[in-house]
Structure formats: structure tokens, C-alpha cells
Symmetry: C2
Subunit: 345 residues, 2 copies
Amino acid sequence: MAKAITLKDVAREAGVHISTASRALNEETRSGLSAETADRVIATAERLGYQPHPLARGLRTNRTRSVGMVVPDLISPFIPPILAGAQHTLSEVGYSLLIGSDDESSPRTRPAVETFLERRVDGLIVANAHLEFTPPDAVQRREVPTVLVSRCVADGSFPAIVGDDQAALSLVVRHLVELGHTRIAHVAGPLDISTGLFRRDGFINALAEEGLAASDCRVFEAGSFHSEDGHAACSRLLDSGDGYTAIVAANDLLALGCIDAIQERGLSVPRDLSVTGYDDIALVDRLDPALTTISLPYEEMGVVAGRLLLDLLASDVETVETPHEPKRLAPTLFVRSSTGSVGST
Amino acid sequence: MAKAITLKDVAREAGVHISTASRALNEETRSGLSAETADRVIATAERLGYQPHPLARGLRTNRTRSVGMVVPDLISPFIPPILAGAQHTLSEVGYSLLIGSDDESSPRTRPAVETFLERRVDGLIVANAHLEFTPPDAVQRREVPTVLVSRCVADGSFPAIVGDDQAALSLVVRHLVELGHTRIAHVAGPLDISTGLFRRDGFINALAEEGLAASDCRVFEAGSFHSEDGHAACSRLLDSGDGYTAIVAANDLLALGCIDAIQERGLSVPRDLSVTGYDDIALVDRLDPALTTISLPYEEMGVVAGRLLLDLLASDVETVETPHEPKRLAPTLFVRSSTGSVGST
């Protein structure tokens, strides 16, 4: 993504706060500033070649300049960076972000969205869609532009910004194959959420890419993305007696639950089993063993979702044909000490 | 704090979403529901003895039912739980939460607040106040009720919900004294923020409580609350040659920076130096050494701040005399393996 000159750049260069820069560049609000400040900002914007987002110019007056964002849970480690990216992007053009949470309960997503509609938000960002997400009618009729982030829906009925799970699982499985592993199990997240399903499918596809026998590489589904359910799934995996030497977990918390279950049986990571995560949450690089995991650009995901929504708001028509293909952001594999060669000790 | 029956309890008991319960209990919105659902919710509310917050009843029509919350940075580990607590509390009575960030830059707090005022929020929650925070005039004149959370201001001009830093530092220093430490250094956070200042003062008071000589126990101020600045402060501390055996850091990230600096010199925690943190952020209990630290009830802090703001909005007058004494929530000390007896090996 090319780095465009943003209002933030103009503000920094002109030595003013972003909201001052915003006012200076808007004819309606400029009068509240000193002429000297306004002139400096305008000159800086011209010099840097700043192109305001269309919304920052001709704003229709029946808009509330607010966007509602529904998240599964504010405390999930990957949500705050998405929120931060979206908030910065929207505030740059004078949009405010309202937040709502459905506490990771699928039947509650819709009421959370309805609350935003009652507040007449101009658009919606939904970070907690289940695959079968059915939004309120106004959203279905595209009266309120909506962008999904982090998770997408099965029928592609909404544009979505997600991580590239297939690329991620290919990186992980290739890494394990290079270490000599052939019996690899997957601890999957809930399969009614795209991140659970796509990572499971990505795992199965990656096995084929690497020429591994699917019959040697079972999937154990966890009840949630939390560590206790990783522990439970890993216990079933170890009880199976199938002799796995590596576990690919669908997120970091599941991986930590797996490591707990392994260590409780007196086994060692990575000597007896290698374990990988997904998300690269804070401090997993400092654990012992440090977690080999996938990093997604979550803050960028929020930025891209915010920009896409602003584009939809500016175009004011549903120009894009459905089904939408999700925009997938590239993952990075961080190799750390939770993975090692088969029989490394 | 006694556990009151909340709208959430009513909704759960009646088997409906919280927004449905809210509508059922409001005469103006009840007609949108089936009579059966509305009756069930009303009966449940009566049976449980639910008392709606005054705001949920007589709402003045010139209100926007929105609250703006300014945070230093959405990615700081303690912010999401505060946000979650406030959001749940406000949404229970039909209030929406708008979020803004000043990127931990004190001159930007005021513009962030101004943006909310332009949007005519009914109230403000400020989680990033510097000690000398000077809000816009409308806030100074109390036209917009404002509650501070996590940090407070020097002159007590606003009600605030914070952690009890004095109690926390007393717990930490007593723990270290019980382990035999007498030469204890403090790696302080920025002293223009209440959490930096109060923890430093708490440390100094705790030394006196324990009868330690202040001359043996220096304070090293870090430039921020981030680990790199903890590393830098700890390097100065180690260079001092003063023979400290324990370090009390003003937050967990500073503590992790200290541990890095100690280990880089070939020294060991806790054998050569014990280190304590503050915040109990995710995964510090799984590190090696696991961090001895203070836990604050951050989610509760958000809940209490939200309730206090709703009280101010309901009373609609500035009944409380200034200066306000901050409400301080009690800390918990978690003793883990980063602290040990002097000369334990």
C-alpha cells in the first residue's frame, strides 16, 4: 500500500494538532483559527501535496460523521490495535468512532448493530461477524455502508479485511516440515467463525502442498479461542496416542493451553512436541519456550477497514459487485524456540 | 461495593438481549416488541427488584446519550479493560461511548476533548489526564460532566477513579523487606502523570513505614512507561554501583526493561536482584522469572467511572465540593519468582 500524505503529516509538519489542521483546511471551520495558523497549514498541505479524502471536503449535512464499530470483546489481544487503526483513520477526516461489544455471543451481534443504527451512524465496522452473520434489514439493503474486519461472512455479502490465513498456515506447515515433522495435528478454533474455519482449511491445504498424508494429521476442534479450550483439545490429542510431533494451534492462547497440557504430562516443548501459535500477542516472544507464531498487521487492518469504509461513504453508491472477495493482509512467521527438529535432543 | 441487580441480569434471566430488555422497560420503545416479550421482561425486572438508573427513566430530550472517552493509547495494556468496563456500564442505560486518543501526548488531550464537545457529548471520561490537565472552558465551567479514570489531576478539580498507589507500594516494599532487602531502588514513571508521581511518593512513604534509610534507596526516573526507558533507567542504576538488591518498577513494562538490562550484564533475577512490576498485564505470570507485581481492578475502574458519570448526569448539578478526593481502588500483590530473599543462592 503506497504511503499517502495524511492529515497527520500535514499537522506534524505545520506544528499544529491534527484537529487544528483539519479546521484550517475546511472553509466552514477556518474562521475559528488565527489567519496565520490557517495560512501556515494550507501552505504546508499544498507543499506536501496533501489530498484530503473526498469526505473531508463535500460533507453532506445529513450525516452524523460517526461510525459504529462492533467488537467481540475489548480485551481480546488483537482487537485494540484494529480499533486504534480504525480510530486514527476515521478521526483524521473528522469522523468519530462509537464502540459496542457483543461479548463474543453471536446472537448479540445484531442488537449491537441495531443500537448503532438507532444512533444514525453513517457506517459500520464489524469485527465480530460469524460466518452466518445476518444483519438488520437496513444493513442488508446497504443503506448503511458496512465493512467487516478480522472476520468475514460465508456468502461474501460484505467487503472484508482479514488476515491471509492460507498463506499463514502454509508458512507454518512448511516450517514444521523443514524441521522434519510429518505427524502434525491442528488445534482449530470454532469453525463457525471465519478465522477458525479458514485456518483449519489452510492447514489441510498446506498438508497437501507439502505432500503430507492427511490421515496422519488430525484436526482437534477447540470450543473457543481461549487457553482452557486449547488445553482440553491438546489433552484429547495426547490421549489419542497417535504420536504427533508437532501442533499447529489456531491462535496464541490455544497454543499456550497446549503447552500447559504437554508440560503437565512431564513432556517438553519443543523436545517432545513442537507448538505454533497465531497472532503474536504481547510477550509471547519472552516466554520460555518463546512461541513460534504468525503475526498479522492488525493495526493496518483497522486502517484499511477505515479507509474502505470512507471510500464507500464518499461514493455513496454500492458500486462493488457482490460477492466480495475479502482483502487478505499478508502474515509474517516468527520462528522462536517452541519449534525444533524432530528428535532434536 | 454491593452488587446491584443490573439490566444485564434482567436480560439474562428473561432470556433476551440487553437492548431488548432496555426497550421493554421503556414505555416509549416498548411498542416495537411483542407483548409477550415485553411482559416477560417487566415481570422479571419486578421479581429481581431491578432499579433502573435514573437516567434510564426520565431522559431529557436535549441529550445525545453519548459519552466521549479519551485514552492515552488504545494499545496500552491497561486501557482495554477500563474501556470495556465503562462501555458495558454506559450501554446498559442506552449510552454510547465514543473513543478518542491523544497518543500519549499531553498537548493533544485538549483537542481530543474539544472534538467530543463539538459532537455535543453529554459527558466525558478522561483516562489520560496529566497532572496539569487544563480542559476547554466548557469543561472547566462544568457544563459537561467529566470524570477522570486511571490518572487524576494535581488540584483535585475533577472527580477521579484511580488505583490506590500508596497501598500498592506499601505492599511491595513490605514484601521486599520481609525478604531481607534494605537497599531498594525505584524506577519511576514520568512524574508529570499522577501514576508516576503517586507511585514514587508511595515508594518513599513506604520506606519510612518500614524504617529504611531513604539515602540507601534512590529513585531513578524513566522517560516513559515503556520497557526501553526501564532498560535505560536500570542501566544508570546498575552503573551507580550502589549495591541495590531490589528494584521496584512503576509498571510491568519498566520492570521487563529492568530485567533485560540486568540479564544483559550476566546477572540473574532474583538471585542478584529482585524486580517488581505494577499492572499484572497478560502473560507476566508465565514469564521466567514470573513477575511479582501489583494487580489493579481495571475493568472495575471503568465500571465505577461510568457509574459516577451517570450519577453526575442524573443529578444535573455540581453537588460535589471541589477539590475532589480521588476514589482509590484497592490493589492486590501477586508474589511470583522475580523476587527472592537477599543472597538466596
